[in-house]
Symmetry: C2
Subunit: 440 residues, 2 copies
Amino acid sequence: MPTLIKNAIVITLDAEMAVHDRGWLRIEGDRIKAVGAGDPPLDFAAEVIDADGDIIMPGMVNPHCHMAMSLFRGLGEDVDDRLFRYILPIERKFVTAEMVRTGSRLAALELIQGGVTTVADMYYFETEVGRVVDEAGLRGVVGQTLADFQPPDHASFDEGFERVEELVAEFSGHDRVTPSIAPHAPYSTGVPVMARVAQWAADHPDVPVQMHLAEMESELDWCAKNHALRPVEVVELAGLLRKGLIAAHCLLVDEADIAALARNGVGVAHNARSNGKAGRGIAPIEAMRKAGIPVGIATDGAMSGNTLDLFSQFAPVSIFQKLLGHSRKPMPAAEVIRMATIEGARVLGLDARIGSLEPGKQADLIRIDLSAPRLHPIYDIYSMLVFAAIASDVRDVMVAGRWLMRERKVLSLERKKVLRDALQIASALKAEMTAIDAGR
Amino acid sequence: MPTLIKNAIVITLDAEMAVHDRGWLRIEGDRIKAVGAGDPPLDFAAEVIDADGDIIMPGMVNPHCHMAMSLFRGLGEDVDDRLFRYILPIERKFVTAEMVRTGSRLAALELIQGGVTTVADMYYFETEVGRVVDEAGLRGVVGQTLADFQPPDHASFDEGFERVEELVAEFSGHDRVTPSIAPHAPYSTGVPVMARVAQWAADHPDVPVQMHLAEMESELDWCAKNHALRPVEVVELAGLLRKGLIAAHCLLVDEADIAALARNGVGVAHNARSNGKAGRGIAPIEAMRKAGIPVGIATDGAMSGNTLDLFSQFAPVSIFQKLLGHSRKPMPAAEVIRMATIEGARVLGLDARIGSLEPGKQADLIRIDLSAPRLHPIYDIYSMLVFAAIASDVRDVMVAGRWLMRERKVLSLERKKVLRDALQIASALKAEMTAIDAGR
């Protein structure tokens, strides 16, 4: 049965950035059939939902996440060099298919409750992530990670490629889950493996490539020492700087790097809170966007940024650019919401299907409840979304025409069971952290 | 009837930073009678509340706010020099006793729902603010502002002092509302008036002084031009750099300024989002705290920072210092929560009465609902509060032993009426902004 949502503030994010202060939306199957202003045409064949003046906007796109790491949320805070001290040892010991399933489910709950409808993920046992994204009803680009530091699911790159092939075999042609290949980073794969990925990707034009890029000083050092190049140049040398590459971070980039990213059609996933919390700095996303690079707003894993919703990123994303520019002008709120929706979709190569509310597009949308006093008055709807709204203001979530959440209740996952399973794994992790800190 | 809250994670914020993973709290009248771990002693005379494993912690302190400006939330975004272009003309035209009452009520709703129990306010018609703080059941330090730019409630400083005297007369001896005098800033009062305030304050030792200090480049220029000094030095010259001064911002301070603030016993209200959103920079609060200056976490008015709860400030407060220090180490989460509670209370001179959960202190406390999946797992309770919790996780709020909110419903104000009144004023403001932008 078609669905008709009426009496909503419809924020379309279409090319004209149309906002219908009192608008409606008609959904048939998994798609948006029509969008309009004022009263909808009479339609006795549809289920009619009165949005009561709330906002209907596109579901948000989180283009860089490690869903399973929600189990590590808040682990090892305030310590430099966590990657080698905590993350890698813990991952080797604790990351199993079951752990990835449980952590991804916890993440899926949070993503849905925070209004994210599409997530790009990079991790291990990624087939499990794809299955969780599928069961949760989300849309995802799920990337099997390849790395040389004895990751938990492959002892060699050959084995890693086997994991990728399994993932592609399972999700090829899936409507919502797009398999992806994810070389971890330049320093953790090396040029020969990145070249192999580039060749493999050329043979699989529908499979997006994700990687961490230009994130850390130590990465700059590795690239300088081994290739006398900068990270972006090393990736270009390997032939991997290509259209469809989803590059996470791009924090330590100079003008030439930005030009190379733009020239090669790379999309960037910006992780403001994660980068800032590491004390690493502020990615020059204003400059990147001016150069024509699509930039999405991402959360990174919960061990880095603690949250997976985009509302918690909005103020940092905008404020960081204002600090860089020493002015109020950079990164106005409407641009932030654009990045969180249609531009994030472009980063993932999905902008023809999602990211805006337009006829023919997938019905991925969220309803924002405007009852909280802290959201009012509203002089600029985008400013309200960026600087005042929080994750809990998301009331309903729909992906591909299916309601995943109604009135804050997630319908596609069992909250209590997921939480119970997660806390069981967390208690074992607590003991391990204590052991690491005791120097054992 | 006494209240006994049991089965709670009690975060005391006492000198030892004690946290009782399963604790209890006994409240008699407006005070905390006892705090303990484990099962409470049997008590048939008390109303027993089972917190069901939720957090009980001190109510938060917001030491710099302009409550009435919640009506200007999100007005004039992304424009430099808003103060003279928008704020002052709008204030002259729209700020009346009625507007201050309505805006302060809207702010009170948001403060309570965000877990703030004590607020320091600076504005005009401040007697109205004091009355709203009182009716809402909040605790407040309400400062009548003095300024030379034709503010809406006094045509001369003599008249301004009359407003102050009225305020002090009405609230002197009030248990929760502390009257305060608030010279706007060095450039908007000048040395002779600041000296007059200093003298007045010496005669009124119980009346705290609040002011904006070292916030803007133009303020530095004014101080340099008129006195060949820096802002902190100008205030010292006027004799106003004194114990009990609540200095908001202190963004543009150097080492000598910090030493002067510390030497004179000044408290600082840090406004991370407001300063950052203006592109002005990051206040060196790590250095200030090392020098012994108490620093609280403040929101500024909603026209500057958009929100009045402290959760929306926590990540910026911590991340900004990590960015300044280029490391994960600065400003650990426990320090952020300390600033939001006991240290903020110290800034306001109220730390003997509030800011921690200890026997004899006022029963100002909040309950944090831990049911949201996005809060779990919890490896470090302070990290969870700083980086994962949001305003809507506050479930119940008590001030001086009285519940102001239960299960998210504010009991002391009529939400619908307040919102209706606020939106009526907002629609007139919208028209005025359009007129200003049209260059009339």
